[in-house]
């Protein structure tokens, strides 16, 4: 980890930049004040009071925007993909693993994190890989901190539920294990949900009884798996439902509704025919994988157009990289969706405010507004264009060094 200064005691002011506020438009010649880790003022030059003791940074000609939020990554779970020793992506001994907590594996010192934040990604959801139906629970991080606890913003913020076909244990007919089919996957899930409801009922009963002091049998045996599932069946936290094909989306949404789950959708890359139906669900969609290849009978841009199609129908979207090493390229997926019809402002929202709203942290993240955490990016231009160079990154008001393993190698061999 590079040396990191504490939250600066004096205010920091970014002056003269083009502010992409997300919530109240673009301010061409703006001033942004950060203090105590938060944004304290945002406005047009002249309208914002610059504190006398402030460190003022002239960012004339630069574009200033809120730190980008990647709505699904594997940051901190993997270092070198082909090296199993560095890989904590997924516990695949069973399909239903809600008691796997990403925070137990999250590797704060991963070399990937400084590389990623150097391109303006300041926050990310960290999810396990998708081989299991329920691979564990996600983490929300900020991409700076001395240790995992400093980087972790919310533990168990959501739970992925994958129904893409990949979860079937059907490597070969001879070696197949339950669940070998989609039917099996759903049956296994439904059983787990019923078991959870039963488990919760027992515990509620016990708690009710013990409150009146009449409990004699002692508490039910704790089951970490069912305990982990319980908040999701009670709807207190969101489930991230991943499916591609229309039939899979229909099946898994039906199951989610059967158990009254609170959910957001993920992927839906093959569900061009379901756009209206998805819009009716009134749930957000994580649309990252626009690079998914269309089916052979589809036009080349069938997947590229999905974000625009969803937005047109009023669906709230957020982008994800679904990546670790290439999480830094998150904004380009949003930009490419613009090339295929998504309005620019929506694309920008989909990597900032929309993501913050979906993850329930929009009071802290996602826009340039006073009171929010000072996660700020200063760049040479349009955040969604590949040519744009990120010049400064602030996380919680701290200016983060942009050097990393890659810049060190560059500098070493440039001498």
């Amino acid at each position: 980890m590079p040396d990191r200064s504490p939250v600066p005691p004096a205010p920091v002011v970014l002056k003269g930049g083009k502010l992409l506020t997300i919530t109240h438009g673009v301010i061409p010649n703006g001033v942004l004040v950060m203090h105590g880790g938060k944004i304290t003022a945002v406005g047009v030059a002249g309208s914002v009071n610059i504190p006398a003791n402030a460190r003022v940074i002239d960012v004339t000609g630069m574009t200033v925007y809120p730190g980008l939020i990647d709505s699904e990554t594997h940051l901190g779970l993997i270092e070198i993909e082909a090296d199993d020793a560095t890989n904590d992506l997924i516990e695949s001994s069973d399909n239903i693993m809600p008691h796997m907590h990403v925070y137990d594996a999250f590797h704060a010192e991963s070399e990937l994190i400084p590389v990623t934040r150097a391109n303006g990604v300041t926050n990310a959801i960290v999810a396990p890989a998708s081989r299991d139906t329920i691979p564990g629970q996600d983490l929300l991080i900020q991409l700076d901190g001395r240790s995992a606890p400093e980087m972790i913003l919310t533990r168990d913020i959501a739970m992925p539920l994958n129904f893409t076909g990949e979860q079937r244990r059907n490597a070969s007919f001879e070696k197949a294990k339950y669940p070998q089919t989609r039917m099996g996957v759903v049956a296994q899930l439904r059983q787990a949900f019923l078991d959870t409801q039963e488990y919760s009922r027992k515990w509620h009963e016990y708690e009710k009884k013990s409150a009146t002091d009449k409990e004699k049998d002692g508490p039910p045996k704790r089951d970490l798996k069912l305990e982990a599932l319980a908040p999701y069946l009670e709807g207190t936290r969101p489930i991230v439902l991943a499916a591609h094909e229309p039939s899979d989306v229909e099946t898994i949404v039906a199951l989610a509704n059967e158990f009254k789950l609170r959910f957001v959708l993920n992927h839906v890359t093959r569900s061009q025919k379901l756009m209206d139906r998805i819009a009716e669900l009134k749930v957000p969609v994580i649309v990252g994988p626009i690079y998914e290849l269309p089916k052979d009978d589809q036009r080349y841009d069938a997947v590229y157009r999905l974000p625009a199609e969803l937005h047109k129908r009023g669906v709230k979207i957020a982008f994800a990289s679904y990546e670790a090493h290439n999480s830094r390229n998150l904004p380009y997926a949003a930009g490419y969706a613009v090339a295929f019809g998504l309005p620019y402002d929506e694309a920008l929202k989909a990597v900032t405010l929309n993501a913050a709203e979906i993850w329930g942290v929009d009071k802290q993240l996602g826009s340039l507004d006073a009171g929010k955490t000072a996660n700020i990016v200063v760049a040479s231009g349009d955040p969604l264009d590949v040519k744009t160079d990120v010049k400064r990154v602030f996380i919680q008001g701290r200016e983060i060094p942009l050097d990393n393993r890659q810049t060190h190698l560059r500098d070493q061999y440039s001498r």
Binding site: E81, D83, Y322, V386, L409, R410
Partner: protein, 439 residues
């Protein structure tokens, strides 16, 4: 099929090693395409030309005739009766070229049953009906080199195609493209054979296998040369050696009949490979992937070896751990010829964005960035005198872009190959003027 969540990195390894299994072929659909007449002639007007060789020309025109660029510049006269297409200030580049692809090879990328299989010809595996070609075409890619994978030390012979999706196999082959062959070293051959407890399982084994094969090829070549010389002299006792396809291909490497492409990541391995090439007297055209080229760029420049690399992929395996996005430009500044390639059915669809990253990482100029996916890629494949730039006499392989091509926002609006309109985004369906599915 569904991609894993680590799709791109996984795809890299899949493409390198196991072929693009994730994109296995759907059943082949009958297809027909009627190319426009080869004599079609037209003038593009009022375009911003990014030429790859002469910089940018504002309000430029291109006169296309007989499949070639007949004239271009600011003062091009349209002959009477020749249709004029007004581009309204949009951008035109030469067709994008992918000098490292495994598309349209179905699952037949690696004959990984022996580390030395130079007699495998990708042309024999080329699935010309693969929709990956269409999707690449729709992204402005007009030519590609399809290579053997990297499971083997000496893999197979490449096929170079024009992306005239819908035509027959023969008509898609790039006419006159020189023969290319692919070598590989490092982790992939180590893993493939090592996991079977076969040779090679180390880099020592890698190069021992390669050296042994080249040694045998040298002897085979001598036998044949002796025989040919004797036969020429009319020596009745000259006995014709037995033909061996494998050694014949390797002998052709030694005779300089192939452009030699080497999949190789690590700096030390470039130098080992170059030493091997010296020892056996062949020349290396390009190192592919070459993620550590920046460490030994001077040496590569001295040997005239190009690199065919990624813009910013890294970390998918140990030998990709020192990859940096400045590799392309740092190597280029030392005089190395650099191309950016896809190695992926996905990334082939946005090579323009990948090239644009070199403008950000290291400050490539517009033309330098564009050359990495046009002229330099053409050079890697040995067709730089035919394609890769907007120049008089070159094939009229052209792309009209909706926006500045070296950006996130550009989409190919129209694509011409050999002067024929092969893709037009404004058309319904696949956007191909003469392609229909089914007969």
């Amino acid at each position: 099929m569904v991609r894993s969540s680590l799709s791109r990195a996984a795809l890299a390894i899949a493409a390198l090693l196991l072929s693009c299994a994730a994109f296995a072929q759907q059943p082949v659909v009958q297809q027909t395409a009627q190319p426009a007449t080869p004599t079609s002639e037209f003038v593009l007007r009022n375009a911003t030309l990014l030429t790859s060789t002469h910089g940018r020309i504002e309000r430029g025109s291109i006169h296309v005739k007989d499949g070639k660029i007949a004239a271009f510049g600011t003062t091009v006269n349209a002959p009477a009766g020749v249709p004029v297409i007004d581009i309204a200030g949009k951008f035109v580049t030469a067709g994008i070229i992918d000098s490292h692809s495994h598309m349209a090879l179905s699952d037949d990328v690696n004959e990984a049953t022996s580390p030395i299989v130079p007699h495998m010809r990708m042309e024999d595996a080329f699935v010309y009906t693969d929709k990956a070609i269409y999707r690449a075409l729709a992204a402005g890619v007009t030519s590609a080199m399809l290579l053997h994978g990297s499971a083997d030390m000496i893999g197979g012979q490449s096929v170079v195609i024009k992306n005239k999706f819908g035509l027959s196999k023969e008509k898609m082959l790039f006419p006159g493209a020189p023969a290319s062959i692919k070598f590989a070293s490092g982790e992939n051959p180590k893993r493939v054979f090592g996991s079977r407890e076969q040779l090679p399982s180390t880099r020592m084994g890698n190069f021992a296998v390669q050296r042994q094969a080249l040694q045998e090829a040298r002897e085979y070549m001598r036998e044949w040369d002796d025989y040919t010389a004797k036969a020429k002299k009319g020596d009745k006792d000259a006995k014709q050696p037995k033909r061996d396809l494998k050694l014949e291909a390797l002998a052709d490497v030694l005779r300089g009949k192939f452009l030699v492409h080497i999949h190789c990541y690590r700096a030390d391995e470039f130098l080992t490979e170059l030493q091997m090439a010296k020892e056996f007297g062949y020349k290396v055209r390009a190192f592919h992937h070459a993620l550590e080229a920046y460490k030994v760029a001077d040496e590569l420049e001295k040997e005239g070896v190009g690199i065919d690399t990624f813009a910013d992929w890294w970390g998918y395996k140990y030998e990709a751990w020192d990859a940096i996005p400045w590799n392309a430009v740092m190597s280029m500044r030392k005089g190395v010829r650099v191309a950016i390639k896809s190695d992926s059915d996905d990334y082939i669809r946005r090579l323009n964005q990948e090239a644009a990253k070199t403008m950000r990482y290291g400050g490539a100029t517009e033309q330098e960035a564009l050359q990495m996916i046009t002229l330099n890629a053409a050079w890697i494949m040995g067709v730089e005198d035919r394609v890769g730039s907007i120049d008089v006499g070159k094939d009229a392989d052209l792309v009209l872009w909706s926006d500045y091509p070296l950006s996130t926002y550009a989409v190919a609006d129209k694509v011409w190959i050999d002067g024929q309109l092969w893709f037009d985004r404004s058309l319904p369906g696949y956007g191909m003027p003469n392609y229909k599915e089914g007969l």
